[in-house]
Symmetry: C2
Subunit: 124 residues, 2 copies
Amino acid sequence: MEADKLKDEIFIQNCPIRNILSRISDKWSILTIFTLEQIPVMRFGELQRTIPDISQKMLTVTLRTLEQDGIVKRQVYAQIPPKVEYSLTPRGLSLLPHLNSLIYWAKDQMDSIMKDRKRNESKD
Amino acid sequence: MEADKLKDEIFIQNCPIRNILSRISDKWSILTIFTLEQIPVMRFGELQRTIPDISQKMLTVTLRTLEQDGIVKRQVYAQIPPKVEYSLTPRGLSLLPHLNSLIYWAKDQMDSIMKDRKRNESKD
DNA sequence: CAGCATCCGTCAGGATACTG
DNA sequence: CAGTATCCTGACGGATGCTG
């Protein structure tokens, strides 16, 4: 097991693992990746309409970040009006199972977590 | 497959799944959980020393949040000076494999992601 | 030792307006 | 259509001081 090595790395300030995690575990990133899993190729406006409460700015920022990290592919068609299509890259696809296992864990635990929260509220 | 149902749920505003994800995928939460995996029982000061750049305030807030969600257990010993021990609950332990698979994915992709970022920088 | 309370700076991120 | 640019506000989170 290389857990000890990982242990060393992850506690470094500006640790690249933490950096990457923070970018994919971001609120909008998860939702964007999840959306592109459901509909593999989407245009900008389509994404914005599908993710109800995302602002245009945050969708742009999120897509740019995911593109920089090679998780999302941006396909531009040189035409008027412009057409840009987004999809997951192979790396993005390889991320899906891990992200999904986390999402399904959250879904499974959801009800009992909510109960625990309420219990703690009334405890005070 | 219940993917369609999940699809509906996750796009709701204030979706509980998203809420839970945002709390566990938080920068300090991941690090705290990961630390408690390495050393299963730790005192407050011990945690603070192990996670190098966490402030006292953020460690407190993070531990309280994780406690509310039943991921971390807080054991108080009624003595002077105070002694408080933190550990993962069964739910916290059940979260570990999913979190770890994400961490290891990030570790595997780290090098090539960093290269992709630099490539995009020079592209502009 | 293990916090809580307070103050305060920074910046994520929303709203709005404009463009190729 | 798919953005960019600008302004602005509130929340995150650090620093400091105090307490059981």
